[in-house]
């Protein structure tokens, strides 16, 4: 049991509990907070895998940006305690059953099919992963390359999308 495994167990328990809490809590502000925990835990997983840049983006954009946006809007729309009214009991049961069954099917499939027998387990990388394939420099090169392996087109598309979203957000939310 090395430190990596310990870290993974802690993260796993943290993420699972937080994500369950996100959807089960009654207060929406708490839900947002739990979501923040989930996102941070995910960032931890990325770090564990050696994807430091991705983890950093996760923390900055998701945890830092989006969650703050959510909290603001929750406050704007008077984040009341969410009531589960009586007519939704059936819905809750059906949804719960669906989710549990779905999860069960997924797990069953995962273990029955033995898809990943050959795959090496995640150990401590012999050399730092970031240095070779997924260093920030190589990510940057790939993102801005226009060749066969390049991601310039999706990159530009996403930047356009973001621009469109800024405009759309302004347009929709402005006062008439």
């Amino acid at each position: 049991m090395n430190s990596q495994n310990i870290m993974f167990v802690i993260l796993a328990v943290f993420i699972v509990l937080s994500s369950l809490a996100t959807v089960l809590t009654k207060s929406i502000v708490r839900a947002a907070t739990y979501l923040l925990f989930v996102l941070l835990g995910t960032a931890g997983l990325y770090f564990l895998m050696g994807y430091t840049f991705l983890g950093a983006v996760q923390v900055m954009v998701y945890a830092g940006g989006i969650i703050v946006l959510y909290v603001f809007s929750i406050l704007l729309t008077s984040g009341r305690q969410e009531q589960l009214s009586r007519n939704t009991v059936g819905k809750v049961l059906a949804s719960a059953a669906l989710s549990v069954v779905g999860l069960g099917v997924f797990l069953l499939m995962l273990f029955k099919q033995n898809l990943f027998e050959q795959v090496a387990v995640l150990g401590a990388p012999s050399e730092p992963v970031g240095e070779t394939t997924n260093s920030i420099a190589s990510i940057g090169r790939v993102l801005l390359a226009s060749g066969e392996q390049g991601y310039l087109l999706p990159f530009e598309a996403v930047s356009l999308l973001l621009l469109a979203c800024i405009v759309a957000g302004l347009l929709i939310a402005r006062k008439h």
Binding site: S19, T22, Y62, V119, V121, P154, V158
Partner: protein
């Protein structure tokens, strides 16, 4: 000894928690939170597949990056809509939104 399955289980739990939330929440903002949960679980899968199955590649990595960007865009627009809704109905309860009936 972290097997790939372990991480997939985590993401699966996250995914189905998101589905459950999507189906049961009554506030549209809470539904959005559930959607973020689901998106995040997909991100984890992309990253972990890249890391464990194709360590030399970076497709999954970049997909995760793009997904984060798109999630940001999506929540920006969605929140704008929510605010507009709130102005119209003084509530963001999903039960007000029945217009898909017609």
């Amino acid at each position: 000894m972290i097997h790939i399955e372990y991480i997939l289980i985590i993401s699966a739990v996250m995914m189905f928690a998101g589905i459950y939330g999507f189906l049961t929440r009554r506030s549209t903002l809470a539904i959005l939170l559930s959607i973020e949960l689901m998106l995040n679980s997909a991100d984890i899968n992309f990253a972990v597949f890249n890391r464990m199955l194709f360590p030399e590649g970076h497709e999954g990595y970049l997909f995760s990056l793009f997904t984060i960007a798109i999630a940001a865009a999506e929540s920006a627009v969605a929140i704008a809509i929510m605010i507009n809704l709130y102005r119209m109905f003084t509530s963001i309860g999903v039960e007000k939104l029945k217009n898909m009936k017609w």
